[in-house]
Symmetry: C2
Subunit: 339 residues, 2 copies
């Protein structure tokens, strides 16, 4: 079987990657599709070289089928369709002791800290697996992981069907947050400036405002009888998003930080105080978030396939990352790992 090995210096080599027989408590999966995540792009750019043991197969968004199970594994059998929750918390740090596994101080993220899923065969601990319905389309199943990120953000943000939700940034995660909020019954407004992303959001039937053309806070105020948004999701990780996020929120409204900020950004703490706003950071997901996301995707609650910009063979890994680096208009690209 083949695997895409990250070599450092913005380069991959696709090479033989022999299947690893599962040890006790492990499962070997035949990977169907691997999705390219922003984290993978950060790895490609060299931002995370201190965590990678090169050459290393990366990737952590996937779908697949159980090939064989190790000793002691009774919950899964060959042929089961599965997805991996690619986290192994340490279980011993103060965050784990408090039950906050997603913010474990020494978390092992599969595909970052250890080998990942951009290969034909992947061997992982059984406790990281979630079972999928037998009839699920494995292409769609590859978007469950980002849907679980969205489910986690909605859970921490306590989104309900009564809420008016603003989502700043309609990349793959932002659009997941928006779609899942709408599926909960919330009124949802997306703030986005990129025409490609605006178009996709509108294809999903979402309301989109370009904040360079429309006064977003005034628009939200008008739509909410002067109250403001119940929940604002910041999903850009950029300073203009941080500047905007406090402005449309209602008194005691919730702001959820989903975007990854590489550096401190100016925030209007005066307004946070003045309106008693609540800000919550969210990271990764818990098992329950996968259990929320799986039926949403399996039931085709929305046409998830619109999020998949292309499906490519593993051999095209290098050129795909280069295209992404050049700013190609992709939402989600899947690598076909099954060859």
């Amino acid at each position: 079987m083949r695997g895409a090995f990250y070599l450092g210096n913005k380069s991959f080599r696709v090479d033989d990657s022999p299947p690893l027989p599962p040890k006790t408590g492990e499962v070997r999966i035949n990977i169907a599709y691997g999705g390219i995540c922003g984290t993978d792009v950060h790895i490609y750019m060299g931002h995370m070289d201190h965590r990678i043991k090169m050459p290393q197969v990366i990737g952590h968004e996937m779908s697949g089928t159980v090939a064989e199970v190790g000793e002691g594994v009774t919950e899964f059998k060959a042929g089961d369709k599965v997805i991996v929750r690619p986290l192994i918390p340490c279980g011993r740090c103060p965050a784990c002791e408090a039950g906050h596994y997603t913010v474990c101080h020494q978390i092992n993220v599969l595909g970052v800290d250890t080998p990942g899923c951009f290969q034909g065969s992947w061997t992982v601990p059984a406790e990281t697996l979630h079972r999928l319905p037998d009839d699920i389309d494995l292409k769609l199943a590859a978007v469950i992981e980002p849907a679980a990120v969205g489910a986690h953000a909605l859970r921490i943000g306590q989104v309900t069907g009564e809420d008016y939700v603003v989502v700043i940034g309609a990349g793959p995660i932002g659009i997941m947050v928006a779609l899942e909020s709408k599926l909960k019954g919330a009124r949802v407004l997306i703030s986005e400036i990129n025409p490609f992303r605006i178009n996709i959001a509108q294809e999903f039937g979402m309301e989109v405002v370009n904040p360079k053309e429309t006064d977003l806070p005034a628009y939200v105020s008008e739509k909410t009888g002067g109250a403001g948004a119940d929940v604002v999701f910041e999903v850009t990780g950029l300073a203009p998003g941080a500047e905007m996020m406090t402005r449309p929120a209602r008194s005691r409204g919730r702001i959820v930080i989903v975007g990854i900020f590489a550096e401190p950004a100016p925030v209007d703490l005066g307004r946070i105080m003045w309106r008693e706003l609540q800000v919550r950071g969210v990271r990764l997901y818990d098992a329950v978030d996968f259990e929320t996301a799986i039926p949403l995707v399996a039931a085709k609650a929305v046409p998830w396939e619109r999020l998949i910009s292309d499906v490519r063979p593993l051999e095209r890994t290098q050129e795909t990352f280069e295209e992404i680096e050049r700013g190609a208009n992709f939402m989600k690209v899947l690598l076909d790992c099954s060859d």
Copy 2:
């Protein structure tokens, strides 16, 4: 009776201020002491001239005795010791409709938007009054208002006796937050750089660290077994406090913004996301916060008199504000309004 009228341009005039007979639902109070608050200093500096109808008596921290009651007022009688919660929410805006009166969009703050307490006699709606115990020292009672600010911050920050609390900034409000957290049984660490404030905090038996001399996050980590603080209160309103506040907090820890930020400050949103931190803004107080603060002060739970740097006649209003502007080492100065 006399009153201290703000004239604009950093000047006060102490002049006759005739008592206003209480109308229906109102109470006239003989003011004992008025405390000078940071907001009063902002008014003196001209920052709030758009809200003041000059010449206007200002001031909203006080203690006093009921002089007479208007028609329909049955809960109070002449001679009752009282304190005013100087807020009249509009009752109609979206924040009020949601029950969030402290963040009313058109709140009337007595002493800012309408005449205040730096005068011998003050007539206010009965619903703004809280009754005090008959034997309370009216000098101490004048610090109940800032204690209610602290009580509100603790309530929103959900401080418990199990918590490790860091308070950044030991001005009058910061020290209230620290003292009240300690009274709840929490372990409390104050971060402060001003020697005068460090000294007062230590006189109260509080642990203080100067972050210019000690690595505060490392110190907190060591004291909490690597976990970090459960709650961090930012009470400076300044950029170094905003920079510090995210660093000592534990995973999913609470950061409470109490300080008034005049402009946006850089915040490490990456860490807020990485540790799933919670940030809450707090403003003013509700009635319940006064009911929490009154017994703490009445019972002399700590030697509150240490917070009172001086008691001065109303005639010295002008020179006192000038001293504060020059950076005088005051914690709380009371104006004796009873002459």
